[in-house]
Structures are given as C-alpha cells and as structure tokens.
Symmetry: C2
Subunit: 430 residues, 2 copies
C-alpha cells in the first residue's frame, strides 16, 4: 500500500513539504482554500500598490505540476479527526495515513474581534486588495471633502503593531503620500497625510537587535511616520482609535498586531499555546498522534534552549521539509528525527532605500540593509517570471517614485453574481 499523505495549507510550510515528496513513493494531496501560493513577505507591497497580485502569487498546481504523485485540491477544511485519520472538507472527506497541518495564523484582536471590520489585517491576497482599496479611496475622499478638519481625519492612517508588517506598511504609506501621489490632487496636499504607528512594546521590530530597532525608528521618523511606543489601543471604531484618554480621528486603521492560530487547531482536541498554536513534539508530530505533523506558523516548536521557533518563512520551509523527511522515514519503518532550526537571520525594510538585517554576528542597516533585503526577497520569490517582473517593476518604481498598481477594484461586486454562482453550483450538482 502506498501511504497517503494529506497536507493542509499551501503556504511556505505546506508547499515545501509537498515538494520534498518528489521522487518518493507516497501519494500526496495538498489542500488549500485558495488556488495559489502566496509570497507573503511581499504582501504589504500589494496592499500599498507597489506590486500586482499576480506578481507575488503563483497557482499551486503549476508549482507541483511535474510531481505526478501530488494532487492539489481546492477546498475548505472544516475539521480534522486525528483518531480516525480523516480530514473533513466543506465538500468531502480525505482519509490519510500521514497528515501535515500547515494552516498558519491570522492577526489577533486580543478578544476584541469586533475591531476587525474597522481595522482589517493583512494575511491574504484579498486582505491586501481590501487594504489597497481603503488607502487609495482615502485620497479620493479627501479630494471631495471641503471641511479641513474632516479631511484631516480622512488623511490620517493608523497602523497598529510595529512588527515587520506594521513597519513596512507605515513606511510604504508614508512614501505613497509623500512621493507617489503628491502631484495627483488639486484640492489638498497629500504630503500632509499623517501616518501613525502604534506599538505596545518599547521599540519597533522587537525581534531585532536593539541597535537595529533604533535605526529603523530613525528611518521611520525621517519618512514622517509618527511612532508611538508603549501605547495601547483601547478602542477602535468607524471614526478612529482611542489610546486611553487620547482620541485619534482616523479614516483608515490597519491592524498588524498579535498572532492567533487558524481556528482548525481548536478542533483537534490537543494541547495549544496561548495563541492557539499546536504544541508539537521535537519531531514536529502531535503528542499521542505520531502520524500527524504540524508545521509553519501553526506549530509551537520549543527548542532545546527553551525558546520557540519564530514564525518566519525560512522556519516554515525548514519545518515543512523536516516533517516530510520524518514521514518518509516512518513509512519505511525508520525512527523520526528531532527538528533543529537553522537561524539564517531576519530582515525588514523601511521605505524606499532603507532596511535592517541581522544574521549571526552580521548587522546591516540603511542602504546596505535594504540591498540585502532586496537580494534575498528576489532570490526566494518563487518562479523565474515573477522574479523578473518584480525586479523590473521595482527598478521602475525606484527611479520614478511611481507605484503602478494604484487601482481601486472590488467597488462593485454585484451580490447577485455570487448568488448566481452558488445556484449554478447547486444546479450542476443536482
């Protein structure tokens, strides 16, 4: 019997796990809600109109088309039955011999989920298009607003959370307003937009060396970003945010804070950490279920020194490949190996020519940090064509201060069509 492996999630962890099975004698089914793999580190570029969705997303099918032992299934996983080794989808079931769960995380609103509608997060391509719509629409609204005070609120962008996503969003929106659209409007000056970055901790990019955090803060300030450290958002509503007693009137609030595991983890009935991530064993399998692995952001992997593996793309890739190796070993009756994380370093960018990077003893900032960031991201961007296109677009944008994807789409998704689609599906099923 050829072992059946089900991989849930086509992000970095799931995709690299699937690829690892090439030339091995297992049958793999890769399930994802979307039909594409997303290069998430560049998602903020789509949200801020620097890149098009097609530049950072590739159909999963074409990424594994040559692996005849991998089948891709687009579907919504609604539950996992670890005891009976069965994954339930909205439209079917999949039985497995081995499971790899890699459904990732979303942002956490710290129990205030009602804030999401006012302050959307950035995890999916649809999120990014929604953020882009909100940011670009704000400028359009400002052009129509005669009242100066109201216009000020329209042109205030609040970003909550100063991790890499928050910092990159803040930098990109500041640049958008100060350079890209600076000459596009007649009734107000986009340069006067305000970008505020809220952080509960005492520095930005807390995962980095404090000296690099300070450099990043400097770059943000140079771009005119108002960074508020040690600041907790106490309320978010349609008109802005509250910081304790202070009220900030803002039309656009974006959320880049917290981590909450994808809801599937709760249905497993196993031990989770505070964020809902699955606490796995050293070989990445779930305690008590040696045939089920959890990898990527969804996994809480404790290292020998007591720290946990960070939620980064390189960690997800390593975990995915390691789980695949362990499954192949187990299928042959061999013992599994403990996972050990190889920390290659971390990096972030702040605007157009400034970044920070650290790897081992190496510390880079400013233009050099940005070059390192650019090189690594282009290198890892999946698919040669995308790499080339993104390079051209960036080169173009860099020299012209332009952002080409400034399109406000999704204004008129006629609900009747979505209904029609459902009815069609119904009719066909009948």
């Amino acid at each position: 019997m050829i072992p059946r492996v089900v991989i849930v999630g086509g992000g970095f962890a799931g995709l690299y796990a699937a690829r690892r099975f090439s030339r091995s004698n297992v049958k793999v089914t890769l399930v994802d809600r979307q039909n594409y793999h997303l290069f998430q580190p560049l998602l903020y570029q789509v949200a801020t109109a620097g890149l098009s969705p097609g530049d950072i997303a590739t159909p999963i099918r074409s990424l594994v088309a040559r692996q005849s032992n991998v089948e891709v299934r687009m579907g919504d996983v609604t539950g996992v039955d670890l005891k009976n080794r069965r994954v339930t989808l909205a439209d079917g079931v999949l039985d497995y011999d081995f499971l790899i769960l890699a459904t990732g995380v979303r942002h956490s609103y710290f129990g205030r989920d009602e804030w999401e509608r006012f302050a959307p997060g950035l995890k999916t391509l649809d999120d990014a298009l929604e953020l882009r719509r909100r940011v670009l629409t704000a400028f359009e609204d400002a052009e129509k607003e005669p009242d100066e005070k109201k216009r000020e609120a329209i042109l205030t962008f609040v970003i909550v959370g100063a991790g890499p996503t928050g910092v990159e969003l803040a930098g990109a929106i500041a640049e958008l307003s100060k350079f890209t659209v600076a000459d596009d409007y007649r009734r107000f000056d986009p340069r006067k937009s305000k970008v505020l970055l809220m952080e509960g901790g005492d520095r930005v990019l807390a995962a980095f060396d404090p000296a690099l955090s300070a450099k990043a803060l400097e770059s943000l300030k140079k771009l005119g970003v108002d960074v508020r450290l040690n600041t907790r958002v106490t309320n978010v509503d349609a008109g802005g945010v509250d910081l304790g007693d202070e009220r900030i009137a803002a039309h656009t609030v974006l959320w880049a804070a917290g981590v909450a595991a994808s809801p599937i983890s709760k249905s497993l009935g196993v031990e989770l950490d505070r964020s809902g991530r699955v606490k796995v064993q050293s070989d990445l399998s779930i305690p008590g279920f040696p045939t089920a692995y959890v990898v990527g952001d969804l996994a809480c992997v404790t290292q020998p020194d007591g720290t946990t593996v960070p939620g980064l793309a390189p960690a997800a890739i390593q975990e995915g490949e390691h789980a695949a190796d362990n499954i192949m070993a187990a299928a042959l009756g061999n013992p599994t190996e403990p996972f050990s994380y190889l920390d290659k370093g971390i990096m972030a960018t702040v605007g157009r020519a400034s970044g920070i990077a650290q790897s081992g003893p190496l510390r880079l900032s400013g233009f050099l940090g940005w070059c390192a960031w650019l090189f690594i991201h282009i290198l890892y961007l999946i698919g040669f064509r995308n790499r080339l296109l993104v390079m051209i677009q960036w080169a173009w944008a860099w020299f012209t201060f332009g952002r080409s994807a400034r399109l406000i789409t999704g204004l008129t998704p006629p609900p009747s069509r979505h209904e029609a689609k459902l009815e069609t599906a119904e009719a066909v099923r009948r």
Copy 2:
C-alpha cells in the same frame, strides 16, 4: 471667466478629450466611477488569466498629473441637467459651461436582464476578475466531481456573441484548457473541455471582410471551438443555455453580445437610437444643446454616407479630441467643425498566433495578422511601463504556453468590511 468643462467618463474618448485641453485656457473636471483608465481591447486577457489588472489599467490621475488645468473626480454620475448645465453626482453637483459625455456602453441582454447573473459580460476590470474566477473555478470544480456527466457540464464554456470580444474569449479559453492547465489536474483531462461560441448572424466577426471572417472561423475550429452560426439563445439559467429545442448543459456562460448605452442617456430627454445611444449632430453636440457633446461608444454618429461610426477605440479617441477642439473653438467664439471619421482599420486575434486585420485595401490573416494586432496593441497601450511589462509577459507566455495570472481572488469579500467602510464614511461626514 475661464470656461469650465466637465468630462464624464475616463475611457478612451474622455481621456483623450481631457488630454487635448492641455495648454488651453479652460478648467477641466474629469469624472469617472473608477480611479483608473482601462485599456479595454486587452480586457479579455485579464478575464483569461493572461495579464494582471495592473497591466492594462493606469490611474487616471497619473495620466493627467502634469496638466494642471485638469482635476479628476472619482464619483458616480446620477443625472445630467442639460438646460441648467449641471451634472449631478451621488455626492455632489458640478456646474459646467461645456460638457463632454463619454460613459460608453454595456452589453445588451435584449430585454432579458435576468440573464446577466448567469452570463456576465466583460466591460470593466471587476467583470474581468469575475469571469476569470468563474473560468478557473470551473476547472477546480471538475477535479472534485466524480460523476462524468456532471463534469462534462462543468467543463463546457458557452460564449454568446461572435464579435471581437466573443472570439477572443473563445480562443483564449480554448488555449487555456488545451495548453496552459493541461497538466495541472489529476482526475480529468482539461483538453476535453468544450468551448462553444454562439452567433445569431451567419458569420463570426461580421464587421470584417467575409474572407477574413472565414479565416477566423478556421482558426477557431483549429483550436477546437464549436462555433454555432445562425443560432439564437432562447434562455439562460444556472444550468446552461437553451437554443430553441436544444439544451446545452454548461457551468460557465459568458456574454459578449449586443450593445446598450449606459443608463445616463435616458435621463437626458433627447433623441436616442435603438441601443440608447445619443444621436448627435455632425459636430458631435447634442441637438438643441450646443455646449453639450457626446463622444465614444455612447454617441450615435451618422456619417455623410448614412452609416454610423463604429464603436471602436480609435473612433472614440478621434471623437474625444474633436469635441475638445470644438469646445475650444466655441469658447473663442469661432464656429465648430463637423467630425469626420478616419477609418484606420480593424483587427482581432484568435488564439496564440493567429489574427486578422484589415485597413483600407490591406488584408492580413494568420501569423501576419497576429503580428499586426500585437504591434498596434502594444503601441497604443498607455504608459511605457505597462507596455514593457506586457511585452515581457506575452513573450514569456508565448514560449511557455503559460498564463501567469491564474489567481482565483474575491472568494471572501467579507461583507462586514464593506459595511464598515460605509459606516466610516458616514462617521467622517458627521
């Protein structure tokens, strides 16, 4: 007093009119519902995953950023009061001295508007993304469908109307299934998809020379498209289409037939043709309202020989520029000039390396026709960057049979967010 010109519509006609006013002493307001100008001749490429939205759309603001006398306003025009020279928007009014109406046309369902939800048309970027979603989702659904007969219906694509859009869609979908996704699925053979092209008349691309129509028909057949001439669709529903007594079970039906003027024309209270287009005078102004011009697809322009100017991009550009010239003449107290259409020819493409083109006595077909089509379309594509990117993508797609933009987006537009957006707008207004 500097004359105020209001242009409604940022398509070819409206945009080129606005550009014509550069260096002239008028104040122009260009109103469009969207924030981008769309290169509509390539819209079918977005619908069939060959190009990304950003490749064929450019923000209107950046196209006129250097013309300080042009103001762009994003807004929905709800009515035009020709007598009082006032344009009403959903969120304001604009008074004008001169008006240029260029809101274009949509498809006509011949009085059966309820068909639209089952058979969407292709006029906007959101339309194209919806078509792309439907076509790509069909293949995903087929992979999940065990019943062969049902799968056949899922893999049947019906296109209604064999004008340029219908022919280009049919050719592109046939290629998509026969080459691009041919190896992506494991449970069915995408090559077995059926593409049907329905046409009420007795040949495809009726605007062309009959010999060229025949060549295009041949190319379509070579791609495996089932072309049905002299065929009238009598009903469309969720499960397929009826052609009189014949029933065709089809999951995906696309509409590319008929022409209906944008609804604004009805509110004018002036003479319209059967499609609702405004019958203009020889100088393109509305009879009885010498300061109001209608151009582009919305205008019914009768030529001295009794024929009407066709609804093509070059005609729209010429009309837009002509109306602008006449307004500048009138503003200086000079007489207006009659419009005369310079027919540069027409062209269409059928699949990957075949096209037809006619211009004056010149007739091209096959590979040469396709080269002509490619050259002209790249040449006219607005914005250097887009041209370069589109060329690279096409070259890449041509050599690899790939289509890069195969992304199914818009699956999860959380309605709560759209509501939140409206509430935000409300709150800010308050």
